[in-house]
Symmetry: C2
Subunit: 250 residues, 2 copies
């Protein structure tokens, strides 16, 4: 889509990758379709096996295809989940719902597993944000259609939430924000910090990521009206599964 302002005649493996990429992005090849194998590419283009492998590796590295052991390379598309940072200033009010990236706007059902709650000493940067040496942490994994898409770890200042349902598996009606409200610490301001990087090995395992699949990390801090930080939720997302949307005014 974006043409480089610097032009080179690309090597053959790239031209093959470009052609396959176009077929994927145009919809000619669909999610789950098998790409031409090394043998097919070798005879179609008159190239060596290493070159055919290189062409397929380009698409695997871009996250558009995934190898299945002993079976070939398959198109891997996923309609990403659209996650709205703010619902108050919604583009629906002014933008007629336009969006650059296609996504699934139906609320697909999340399932939650691997729930794990504990009181711990704060990691350095979390202690600094929450102004607290110890935290209660609620970890869970979210899946959509059986595919793990997000790990979330909500951190709360330990002394603030000690003895409340925030430290229990069932947080009661309205969840953790209602419980913070019960304490007189309703969150009303939010900051989200967004980064992307390659996953660490345990993140790859928990999200069942294919090699070469990056992650998005969103660190969301919630503040009371008085500016007291009451929650830091670190969300680790399969980058192929999410579009993050933020709407704001000038």
């Amino acid at each position: 889509m974006t043409e480089s302002p610097v032009h080179h005649e690309p090597p053959i493996y790239r031209r093959i990758a470009d052609s396959l990429r176009s077929q994927i992005l145009s919809g000619e090849l669909r999610d789950g379709d098998r790409l031409p194998g090394e043998n097919a590419l070798m005879s179609e283009y008159g190239i060596a096996r290493a070159t055919a492998r290189q062409a397929l590796a380009v698409l695997i590295n871009e996250g558009l295809a995934v190898p299945r052991r002993g079976s070939g390379v398959y198109v891997r598309l996923f309609r990403p989940i659209r996650r709205h940072g703010s619902r108050r200033l919604s583009r629906e009010q002014w933008g007629q719902g336009r969006a650059i990236w296609d996504s699934d706007t139906r609320g697909r059902a999340y399932t939650v597993d691997e729930v794990h709650i504990e009181r711990l000493p704060s990691a350095e940067e979390i202690g600094r944000v929450l102004d607290s040496d110890e935290v209660w942490v609620r970890r869970r994994r979210y899946s959509v259609d059986g595919r793990p898409v997000q790990l979330a770890a909500s951190h709360f200042p330990a002394d603030l939430v000690e003895g409340t349902a925030i430290t229990l598996p069932d947080t009661g009606p309205g969840g953790v924000y209602a419980r913070l409200g019960d304490l007189g610490y309703s969150p009303v301001h939010f900051t989200e910090e967004v980064r992307a990087r390659m996953p660490a090995p345990h993140e790859s395992e928990l999200l069942r990521l294919p090699a070469g699949n990056p992650i998005l990390i969103v660190a969301r801090t919630a503040y009371t009206s008085g500016g007291i930080p009451v929650e830091l939720n670190e969300m680790t997302m399969d980058a192929a599964a999410y579009v993050l949307q933020y709407d704001f005014d000038a």
Copy 2:
């Protein structure tokens, strides 16, 4: 920092990678430091060369280290640039400037090169967002301290901006937004859609990315008070160079 709720005894190459990662993240090893080589790891841990290589590959894949041909593997840290999505609802008002990730808050100077301006038929999804079959596109590359960090491509509805300074290298005082204002189309609402993926080959080249370095993509659409989309800026960023920050109220 985030402990997995599922525990395995990790293989030796991971334990070596974990140890090196801790040294990097604690600051014991600094940006530009050479990591222990394959030979040093082999004799220190009594492992095979392939295992030593695997340990180093973990850190390279995570973007924490970069190989230099014939010279070894080096720590590659970069204090990321903090980019604020919205300046109106700023956390500085309530959050005492707390942030989970360290970043460079001084405004480091951007340099711009590779400026390229042309009128083109709209790519499908851009035409849909801007409601226009043709666009004027302004492409440029931004660098900080000599390192390319961002490619940006601003798209404008072609008929709206035809004949204005938006189609010229020098857009005049106040830039493209002032020129849109001159036309009676000041942008006041913004939507940003954020994704991450591995770069395509031409993106890697233009941003000079090491292998295994993902990119962040921000598609920013600007709307007038009447809800007319007047600009779509697609920004492609070295993920290692940026933290995106968004502040909003409940």
